[in-house]
Symmetry: C2
Subunit: 159 residues, 2 copies
DNA sequence: CCTAGAAAGTTGAAATTCGAACCATCGGTG
DNA sequence: CACCGATGGTTCGAATTTCAACTTTCTAGG
């Protein structure tokens, strides 16, 4: 008989507003970042990978680790790296210790691109996000979101 | 000579952390919401359209308005509605006053689906977002994000 | 009235993403 | 050592998204 018909706890006015605002910022911001990166021929995805690689030991990362770090499926990353490889930003290299494995390695060109684009991207992030809030707001936001990120990380299987 | 080489204002440690956390929540949350909707055969996109329609006068909206409301391109929305039409959730109807125009109208089935799914979706939003913060955090977050949404809305052209 | 844009939507092809199936190698166990 | 389930990655086909035409209808100016 139990067909799960407990009265749902609907969102209050405020909660609803908060949620929708969040969703809106989410999309609008993504759109804007994407747009600001476009003149350099990069997507957010490209950029994030460049960041990860350039912050890594030897400018390289195992495909798996990169997939985990950027929260993408293995399949998607594989395609993504192929495209970036064609664009000359990245190169695949075999892993000695595990012959199944591959590294994605930042090329010189990739590194140069990174250096050129980073300032613009940072400016964009500031202009459309960071600089629009007070340091207190930022701190509060971070404190609120951090545990949520943790929670969500534990929830998910392998995307 | 001006080649735009002012020293960029890099992000501070805290800012960097806030930004990355935001990005992470962004993706993880989207992923989770999507996943929780999957058993009902809906995507976030589907759901959002159902919400918009069910909150509208006569359960209908002009394609353009719907596109604007959901922040999608006309093209994307058109395909989207076609799919939902095939799924029986929505139906297209001509506009009397403007013969170029079309309405997307919620069907009975669409309305029923909405009613069935909404409680689960709300529960999901609570579980993975709203209920993970205090009311104060939520209020603060809303207050911070609201102006950002405004700013971003003014920035963008037609996606 | 006529015409040149603009606006509303659709369409089709190309690019991206997803999911499942697949291949090869690893690591542990009997 | 030989087997077997896990890991690391790629690949293929289907679904989704994007981008650039294209059609039809409006609207405003002359």
């Amino acid at each position: 008989m139990e067909t799960d018909n407990a009265t749902p706890r609907w969102l209050t006015e405020d909660e609803q507003c908060a949620w929708r605002t969040y969703l809106a910022v989410n999309r609008l911001l993504t759109y804007q970042m994407e747009k600001d990166l476009q003149p350099f021929g990069l997507t957010m995805n490209d950029y994030e990978i460049l960041v990860n690689l350039s912050e890594s030991e030897d400018l390289r990362m195992r495909m798996s680790d990169l997939a985990t770090a950027t929260l993408q499926s293995k399949s998607r990353l594989s395609h993504q790296i192929t495209r970036m490889e064609n664009a000359g930003l990245v190169r695949r290299e075999n892993c000695e210790s595990d012959r199944r494995g591959l590294f994605a390695v930042l090329t010189d060109e990739g590194h140069a691109t990174m250096k050129k684009v980073a300032p613009h991207h940072v400016a964009s992030v500031r202009k459309h996000y960071i600089d629009l809030m007070t340091p207190e707001s930022l701190a509060s936001l971070r404190a609120t979101l951090k545990p949520i990120a943790e929670h969500l990380r534990t929830q998910r299987g392998k995307p």
